[in-house]
């Protein structure tokens, strides 16, 4: 008996150790810069104390905020927003809790244990879960009161209002999109025409392959780019792309979606990707493109700055190739990607709900303002009336021309059905690793059926 109990204990311990390893593994990467996190709030504290406008009547309020603060693209806008907040509301002090990249686990644990910060960054998944459990404040009233609704870009209203018609978070990111970048020099050197149809794309792949150049570099270890590439194909045949599958309005076995998988599988077979692409991270894949070893690269429009820095005027983006010349023209302005409800949300159990909502709205607008004026991106949720400080790179200027008429689908992280999301992520990666289109259709349809 003792031996048996001993065995059970041992196994249980092993199983739990394994689970614990997983948990810590996923948070490791996200806390790359924890030391820097505490610097900004404490730094601004002193300036507030010195500010003469801090009247005695305004009571000092401390709010906890759970926000992204990982790299230049998230730190600088956040710091700017905090500094602006100090000027506008000197009595408010923010205590930053850096967001972990853990699929929302930390936030959910906070919610389950009643430790939710006053303001937190929420995506669609968190909004849906917290809506049910009463952990997210409906912000309709505050959106009007603080003028947030009026400040929205009309084209980005989908990032403010959720499917049920209510507002739960103040967004700052607009509708972002996937771009197909290419190295102009390599295309010229090997006499390859920038493809406008799938057939031309295949010819291009074959030519590059023959000359020892990787046709398309991708960081396919992360699964969302894999879904995006499938969506690039699918959205040529049905403008709604993967969103229709997500909502259960179409099946992967429908002709358009099946053909998309087949066309992609055909290109993969022709040698579209580098060896071991499904095991490459961003740094590895980007290096291949920057060093001229890969002719094309797939990433969001946020890649424009880094690519321009690395390749100068040799890099450009192309409209996705279509089924045929007519299809190319008709679906030219449909981009894979998009945006969804998300941004700074407010905890309804906060002691200062209204103030938190005001701060959240303010922070979102300032965050967007900085990205617009200083980070070279016109793709933000709210209107910005300040002049641009940093000129947009040429690729962004090109993009800005088509943005007003653009239609978009969704990124993998913006999908609303988590089961479908996991299934299409896994299936797309398999597809890129060489499994058949039939298998892809089967696996995706299984998840849609449920």
């Amino acid at each position: 008996m003792i031996r048996k109990t001993g065995a059970i204990l041992l196994i249980a311990l092993l199983a739990f150790t394994a689970a614990a390893c997983g948990g810590s593994g996923s948070t490791n990467g996200s806390n790359a810069s924890p030391s820097a996190g505490s610097a900004s709030p404490s730094g601004s504290e002193s300036s507030a104390a010195a500010s003469p406008s801090a009247s005695a009547s305004a009571e000092k309020v401390k709010l906890r905020i759970y926000a992204q603060y990982a790299d230049e693209d998230t730190k600088l806008p956040y710091d700017y927003a905090v500094a602006e907040l100090k000027k506008e509301m000197p009595n408010v002090e923010l205590e930053l809790d850096i967001q972990a990249q853990d699929d929302g686990q930390k936030l959910k644990t906070y919610a389950a244990t009643g430790n939710l910060p006053d303001i937190y960054q929420a995506g669609l998944d968190i909004i849906n879960t917290f809506k049910q459990s009463g952990n997210i404040q409906q912000l309709d009233e505050y959106a009007d009161k603080f003028g947030f609704k009026d400040a929205m870009q009309p084209s980005a209203m989908n990032t403010l209002v959720t499917d049920d018609g209510h507002i739960y978070a103040f967004p700052y990111a607009g509708n972002e999109m996937i771009l197909l970048y290419y190295n102009k020099e390599l295309f010229e050197k090997f006499g390859v025409k920038v493809p406008t149809t799938f057939d031309e794309w295949k010819t291009a792949v074959e030519t590059f392959k023959k000359n020892g150049i990787i046709p398309l570099s991708m960081f396919a270890k992360e699964k969302w780019p894999d879904v995006a590439l499938y969506d690039v194909f699918a959205s040529r045949l049905d403008p709604a792309g993967i969103t229709k599958l997500d909502k259960g309005q179409a099946k992967a076995s429908d002709p358009a979606y099946k053909t998309a998988a087949e066309k992609l599988a055909e290109l993969v077979k022709a040698g579209l990707l580098a060896k071991g692409a499904t095991n490459m991270n961003y740094d590895q894949a980007a290096a291949l493109f920057y060093e001229g070893k890969a002719a094309m690269f797939l990433n969001g429009q946020w890649e424009i700055e880094a690519s321009t820095k690395a390749l100068g005027d040799k890099v450009a983006w192309m409209f996705y190739p279509g089924m045929d010349a007519a299809g190319y023209e008709s679906s030219k302005l449909v981009f894979s990607g998009g945006g969804g409800p998300g941004g700074y949300a407010v905890n309804p159990k906060s002691e200062h709900v209204e103030l938190a909502a005001q701060v959240a709205a303010f922070m979102s607008r300032k965050y967007a303002e900085f990205k617009y004026t200083e980070r070279g991106t016109p793709i933000v949720a709210t209107k910005v009336d300040k002049p641009i400080v940093k000129q947009y790179p040429p690729m962004m200027q090109e993009l800005a021309k088509v943005i007003p008429d653009m239609k978009s689908t969704a990124f993998a992280w913006g999908l609303s059905n988590p089961k479908f999301k996991a299934a299409i992520e896994d299936a797309s990666q398999s597809l890129l690793a060489g499994t058949s289109a039939e298998q892809f259709v089967k696996e995706v349809d299984k998840a849609i059926g449920q």
Binding site: R3, K4, A7, I8, L9, L10, I11, A12, L13, L14, A15, F16, A18, A19, C21, G22, G25, S26, N28, D102, D103, Q105, K108, A111, A112, D125, T129, F130, Q132, S133, N135, K221, K223, A274, K275, G276, A277, T278, N279, P418, K419, K421, A422, D426, A427, Q429, S430, L431, L432, A433, G434, T435, K446
Partner: protein, 293 residues
């Protein structure tokens, strides 16, 4: 001794702290997992009671079959490699004629000390399809057998299993080496006088006397293999696609990627049961009698 064991208060004082700790961090979560596996639960809101529906769904899930299959492959590979190679090396290092024994002993154990992440990064570089050491080796020997080790849905699980096998071989080596050293010298001496060769003496005397250690090593290797997670999490992310899923990975995916904690709990429960059965079987079949010298 009898008098001491008769003193219940003393026994309780010594056992209780450990027992309490174990109950709180092992038994209680285990019972919770069992309970939660009967619900559809997102980890936050109140769940819906489903009774055994999660299990029914699980047994029909193709992913579940892949996971169990991969767990078995993993367990078999690491058990055979770690115990097999560990035994040979233990025999070698225990032999008085082998030079540099102390140095060898330490170097076999070194990988065990490294963290899983470090080892995985190392092997990711070795396995790299473009410039990896392994493919370069094949190239150097003039062989065209060059593989995309971690990105091939059929081969990836074997490649990953070998990483774990290499990583923890030293641990089994240390256990086996200690056991070999504890076997009284005169058994082998007698065999030698009777004219047995070194291999024969080991085969007929040392190996049978190592039964109990083998049992322990087997339990460790097999349960470790069935619940493998860290290597696939770091090296392939369960991919390409779902080809390197194990039950623990399935649990992780269900709970943290899909928000189905109930379903994840169900796969955790199946994993615990699976390990339990395997452990009972090993205990039943290997070394049933205690060896007393």
């Amino acid at each position: 001794m009898n008098k001491f064991l008769g003193n219940r208060a003393a026994v309780a004082v010594f056992i209780l702290p450990a027992l309490l700790l174990y109950s709180v961090i092992v038994f209680w979560p285990l019972l919770q997992t069992l309970y939660r596996s009967l619900f559809q639960w997102d980890g936050l809101n109140p769940g819906t009671f489903l009774f055994l529906d999660n299990y029914k769904e699980l047994f029909q899930d193709e992913l579940f079959r892949t996971s169990v299959y991969n767990g078995l492959i993993f367990a078999v590979i690491i058990a055979v490699f770690q115990i097999g190679v560990g035994t040979l090396l233990a025999f070698g290092v225990a032999d008085a004629y082998v030079k540099g024994r102390k140095w060898l002993r330490i170097s076999f154990f070194i990988p065990v000390v490294l963290s899983v992440t470090v080892v995985c990064q190392l092997w990711m570089a070795v396995y790299n399809g473009e410039y990896g050491l392994l493919n370069r080796l094949f190239q150097a020997f003039g062989m065209s057998y060059r593989q995309d080790w971690l990105s091939d849905p059929d081969k990836a699980i074997y490649a990953i299993a070998m990483v774990n096998a290499w990583h923890f071989m030293g641990y089994h080596f240390a256990l086996l080496f200690a056991a070999v050293k504890s076997i009284p010298e005169h058994f082998l001496e007698a065999a030698r006088i009777d004219g047995a060769s070194k291999w024969k003496a080991h085969w007929l005397i040392t190996v049978p006397l190592l039964r109990e250690t083998y049992r322990f090593c087997l339990v460790l290797a097999v349960t470790g293999g069935l619940s493998a997670f860290a290597q696939m999490f770091i090296m392939t992310g369960g991919g390409p696609g779902t080809s390197t899923y194990t039950l623990t990975y399935l649990m992780y995916r269900s709970a943290f990627r899909i928000n189905e904690f109930g379903y994840g709990s169900a796969s955790a429960v199946v994993l615990v049961i699976e390990c339990l059965i395997v452990t009972l079987l090993i205990n039943r079949l290997v070394a049933r009698d205690r060896i007393v010298y």
